[in-house]
């Protein structure tokens, strides 16, 4: 098991998939010689040539539309959307086309494609380089939404997405692309979609994914010194949701904190709260709390305000402590 960053894991997943399967190809803005603005596709253009690593025009709707059409004809496209903030022009192709093709043709046609989108807040990115879009896509039947938080999952879940038969929106936590390192298995076997219990605890549960998972873990670590045992659940796949894992941890601790970068209202956390309120209500010993972004249109450029927007370890600690002592 090699150690690597999330970015390297993503790159390796694409490279191996392309080596193993001629049908796999990559398209997107600057994915060619430039290797992507985050370097996720670095080296692929050299290795596989311009036929399999296509620099596209700035036209997200058609990036996805072309991927849909290629998948229809038997290819396995991986489309990169440069920032999740720029996926909106492609929503029609994703929500009305990719998501519905299998259903509307009663299984005659399918659309196995992966749309990779780096998401979440960064320093100095302003309103349009730090959005989280998981709630929008997780709402749509027919789509899968994966949100890995570790190099192993970035690798394994991307391999799974590429091999799968369904369209996947693959959300990469760009803020920790290079800062989180970890072991990555040597092949895709044995990777599943179940949520992962990253830390066991009896007092309070925190559910997160992507970058926030790491802040949740740090908060849990900190609270251990106060003798508060926090259970940390990493959802990994947002659609489908591993409901059983969610309900289990709530049944165990009776206290639930949900953390995400996106704003709270109609965010993904709402669905988690709703599931619990329907299916494990009487296991709750405290209100369900969401630690989320504020109800503003986006992260301001001015970095001084970042901690007031993107949930901090501190804010998670405070919420977990409140819950544990409720």
């Amino acid at each position: 098991m090699a150690e690597m960053t999330i970015l390297e894991a993503v790159r390796r997943a694409m490279r191996e998939a392309m080596e193993e399967d001629d049908r796999v190809f990559v398209l997107g803005e600057d994915v060619g010689p430039r290797g992507g603005v985050f370097q996720a596709t670095a080296g692929l253009h050299r290795q596989f040539g311009p036929e399999r690593v296509l620099d596209t025009p700035i036209a997200e709707s058609s990036i996805v539309g072309i991927a849909v059409g290629a998948a229809i004809a038997g290819m396995r496209p991986i489309a990169e959307i440069q920032f999740a903030d720029f996926i909106h022009p492609a929503m029609n192709q994703l929500m009305n086309e990719a998501a519905k093709l299998r259903y509307r043709s009663a299984g005659a046609w399918s659309c196995p494609l992966v749309v990779r989108a780096p998401y979440g807040g960064v320093h100095g990115g302003g309103l349009y380089h730090g959005q989280s879009v998981e709630a929008l896509f997780s709402h749509i039947p027919g789509l899968r939404v994966y949100a890995p938080s570790t190099p192993a999952d970035a690798y394994g879940m991307l391999r799974l997405a590429i091999r799968g038969e369904d369209p996947v929106v693959f959300l990469e936590p760009k803020r920790i692309y290079a800062s989180v390192r970890g072991p990555v298995p040597d092949g895709p076997d044995g990777i599943g979609l179940a949520a992962a219990l990253r830390r066991q605890g009896e007092d309070v549960s925190v559910v997160a994914w992507g970058m926030m998972l790491h802040r949740a873990l740090a908060a849990a670590e900190a609270l251990a010194t106060e003798d508060i045992a926090v259970e940390v659940l990493d959802l990994r796949s947002l659609r489908p949701l591993d409901e059983e894992a969610l309900l289990s941890t709530v049944r165990k601790t009776g206290r639930l904190c949900i953390v995400h970068e996106d704003n709270a209202m109609c965010g993904y956390g709402a669905e988690l709260a709703a599931r619990v309120a329907e299916k494990a209500l009487f296991h709750l010993d405290a209100p369900i709390r969401r630690v989320a972004g504020p109800e503003i249109p986006g992260l301001p450029y001015c970095p001084a305000l970042e901690d007031d927007v993107v949930p901090t370890v501190d804010r998670i600690i405070r919420t977990l402590r409140d819950l544990a002592t409720y």
């Binding site: 190809f25 036929e51 399999r52 596209t56 025009p57 036209a59 709707s61 058609s62 539309g65 072309i66 991927a67 849909v68 059409g69 290629a70 998948a71 229809i72 004809a73 038997g74 290819m75 496209p77 022009p89 029609n92 192709q93 009305n96 086309e97 519905k100 093709l101 299998r102 259903y103 509307r104 043709s105 009663a106 299984g107 005659a108 046609w109 399918s110 039947p141 027919g142 899968r144 799968g164 038969e165 369904d166 659609r239 489908p240 949701l241 409901e243």
Partner: protein, 393 residues
Amino acid sequence: MASRHPKAAPSLTNSSAAGPRKPAAGLRRGPNPGPERPQAGRSPSDPGPGSVGGGTDETGGPAPDVPTLIRMYYHMALARALDERVWNLSRQGAVPFAVSGRGQEAAQVALAAALRPGRDYVYPYYRDVALVLHLGVTAEEIMLAAFGRLADPSSSGRQMPNHFSHRRWRIVSGSSPVGTQIPQAAGTALACRMQGEDAVVLVTFGEGASSTGDFHEGLNFAAIHRLPVVFVCENNGYAISVPERLQVAPPGMVARAAGYGIAGASVDGTDPVQTYRATAAAVTRARAGEGPTLLEVRVLRLDPHTSSDDDSTYRPPEERAAMRAADPLPRFRNQLQEAGVITAEELEALHAQIAALVDAATAAAEKSPAPSPADLPRHVYAESPTEVRSWRR
């Protein structure tokens, strides 16, 4: 049997399919050869020159042979009969909805005739009844979709009628939002090239759909990569009620084609021979690796937009009268007859066969079972995740 007509000429014309028959003057070679002159600004009530088989243009291919001409007529007439039947059923409330291709059949059979069914990919749009019939879809399959039956091969009753799909004929499932199929067709063409297939992709859409952003993105991409796609705009002058002059600037698709630096042509889509030639030329170019074509076929929309529309609010009665006079179906019939390609008796038999086929298809589709609630959650995913299996409480 009633529902699956032969891919060759219909039975009554099997004599013509057997051996060469003297081609009528003007069918193989037009009396007025000369370059196409796009007719910017033409109103739908003035469909332009309609001389049969007339006109070759610089990019024009050969005219269809006689068996093909008869098959084309057959599918035009069959499409017309099916459209009329579905429309009437919708009037009676027997089917919820109807959308017809009446007035566009000549262009549609010509498009199909220039393709290799089941090998070339086709992304049709909702008026393309005649196109898909000519590719291989059966009358019964059309009726199954109209009734929303489980056996409907396009969607098992999930989509509205005329949202064609048929994997065997490489007819790709389309949605209702217009224009989305245009970049998809470019993607399919890219895939064919990557896979070393010599398939061509043909995609149709109305002039209204040419206003979508997807049109631009698809054409630009296909032009950059010189992909084997034929983009066909079936320009009937209206998008529901909105006339072409408020939809496309400048009117027509010839300027647009030049805007992308690709081959372009505008033909009289009420003339199946002219349309066939232009399509065959575009297909040949695409297959030879010479890149995409944007082909405009100028057609008529004889009916209101759909069974839910009333076109009296926006279409003057004179215009409708003029359109009926330009109806491609009787015109092509007369031309075939005058050219000696088909006799009055053969025509009568052909129409009788069609009438019987439509009756049989309707009866069979009506009897065919509807989808059941148990079918509802199927095919959302390849393997249904939990939340799909257990949605119902």
